[in-house]
């Protein structure tokens, strides 16, 4: 039985790698899909002692934790107000300020920030030509994905910074992502970029609320 198990394991592993090689969505073994430093998050709640010796609990907000992590990675966190300012910035018309959606194709088509470029970091070969020039000329670039635990925007920013040399001062990551954007009732563009189909309610691929969107 052990021999049979070992045989199944060997043949199965060989076939698994072959299947991956043949699959159009196959992964590249040597590629680093998660570039950037891995920064451990501080504990959400830390005990501190004040001058009188009385201990108190100091809570690190999710935004503060996110900001600390981004800073360590050389990125800047953009909150909802800042992102709205970017969206209404007149330079956006001349592509001095651009938005980059770092989610996959399916979710981008379902709804994205109007005028946002698409860059799926897992398949950069398909998107790099579209964003390369505009990233080099833009003064400020805002990356976003789904928000919450989604880190695709962060990794996409690092990937573009490291691969085409975008200065880190230009790079902003919208922590709340498309979920917060939609929750705030801001406009959503459906379909391809500049399709003109605007709505202020994002739908998911499965028909659920925006919060169900996977990064």
């Amino acid at each position: 039985m052990l021999q049979e198990g070992a045989l199944v394991a060997v043949i199965g592993a060989a076939l698994a790698f072959a299947a991956n090689a043949l699959s159009p969505r196959g992964l590249l073994l040597t590629k680093n899909y998660f570039p950037g430093t891995t920064v451990a998050l501080p504990a959400p709640v830390v005990a501190v002692t004040n001058a009188t010796g009385v201990s108190a609990a100091k809570t690190n907000t999710p935004a503060a934790l996110l900001s600390a992590r981004f800073q360590a990675e050389g990125l800047q966190l953009a909150d909802s107000n800042r992102v709205v300012q970017f969206f209404h910035d007149p330079r956006r018309e001349q592509e001095g300020v651009i938005f980059i959606d770092a989610r996959d194709e399916e979710h981008y088509q379902v709804g994205h920030i109007p005028g946002a470029y698409h860059f799926d970091r897992f398949h950069p070969e398909n998107y790099l030509t579209n964003v390369l020039q505009v990233c080099l000329t833009a003064q400020e670039i805002v990356f976003y994905c789904n928000g919450g635990e989604c880190d695709d925007s962060e990794h996409a920013a690092i990937m573009l910074r490291d691969s085409i040399g975008i200065p880190k001062e230009k790079l902003f990551v919208y922590g709340g992502g498309i979920t917060e954007w939609a929750t705030n009732g801001l406009p959503i563009e459906l379909g391809p970029r500049n399709s003109g189909q605007l709505t202020n309610l994002v739908k998911t691929a499965t028909g659920g609320p925006a919060g169900d969107l996977k990064p």
Binding site: M1, L2, Q3, E4, G5, A6, L7, V8, A9, I11, G12, A13, L15, A16, F17, A19, N20, S23, R25, G26, L27, L28, L29, T30, K31, N32, Y33, F34, T38, P44, D104, F122, D151, T206, G208, K214, P215
Partner: protein, 254 residues
């Protein structure tokens, strides 16, 4: 020819097999009844996971599948049609692993990488990618073997070798989430990377226990009917594959 086990040992093994079968039966009944009492949740799961848009079809499945699980659990508990139940177990186990493997491998394999990364166990990109590549397709491969009935015990052994550490890792992760978020353990819900999206941890643990017991059951040599080639080697069924006697008759059986 292999030596038959000693009567004492055999009796112990039979008791273990009997208890495992009862446990398995009980768990199937529990799973079935959970779905019966929470039909909306099961219906949502069917619609999302299997993309069943037809309300009649999804309603029909949601109405019948839980009772079939209960019925199957009763079969296991009572020991009725044991060999047929073992064949069904083999097919079901095969289907589950094919489905879960394909769910990880095909739509967005990179999403599975992210889920592996959440366990903070792998840092090397090469190792991470290798796991992300090999695991899903390997599950599909084992599932196909079980479905077709080829090298059944070898496939079952590999599934057990995967299920035991994965269950422990998922359990550890759930405990961390429960502690850090100050939530009751069974209210922890997250995508463990198992291929079925977000799940409640207690439900997942029950599911994994069932999968483990089913694989262990096949390991004893059951589910031989409708097999293309049950064993790759020429040896015959192991001693445990003989009919499992009821407890009162175990000591006198040869």
């Amino acid at each position: 020819m292999s030596t038959p086990p000693l009567p004492g040992l055999r009796r112990s093994l039979n008791i273990i097999a009997l208890v495992a079968r009862w446990l398995l039966g009980g768990l199937f009944i529990y799973l079935g009844l959970t779905k019966v009492f929470h039909p909306a949740e099961f219906l949502t799961f069917l619609r999302q996971q299997f993309m069943l848009t037809n309300p009649s079809l999804s309603g029909l499945i949601a109405g019948t599948a839980p009772w079939l699980e209960v019925l199957y659990g009763l079969f296991l508990l009572t020991g009725i049609a044991r060999e047929a139940a073992a064949v069904l177990a083999r097919w079901w186990l095969g289907c589950v692993f094919i489905y879960m493997g394909l769910n990880k491998a095909l739509p967005h394999p990179e999403y599975f990488l992210k889920l592996i990364l959440q366990y903070d166990m792998v840092t090397s990109p090469l190792l991470l990618n290798s796991i992300g590549v090999a695991l899903p397709w390997f599950e599909v491969f084992c599932g196909l073997l079980l479905l077709a009935g080829v090298a059944v015990r070898g496939a079952a052994l590999n599934l057990i070798a995967m299920l035991v550490p994965f269950t422990l890792i998922v359990l550890k992760r759930a405990l961390i989430i429960a502690v850090t978020s100050h939530r009751a353990f069974c209210t922890v819900k997250f995508d463990c990377g198992c291929g079925a999206g977000e799940v409640y941890i207690c439900h997942k643990l029950v599911e994994n226990t069932i999968l483990l017991l089913l694989a262990a059951w096949l390991l004893t040599g059951r589910g031989r009917q409708f097999c293309l080639r049950f064993s790759l080697s020429r040896d015959k069924a192991p001693a445990l594959a003989q009919p499992e006697p009821v407890m009162s008759r175990t000591s006198g059986q040869t």
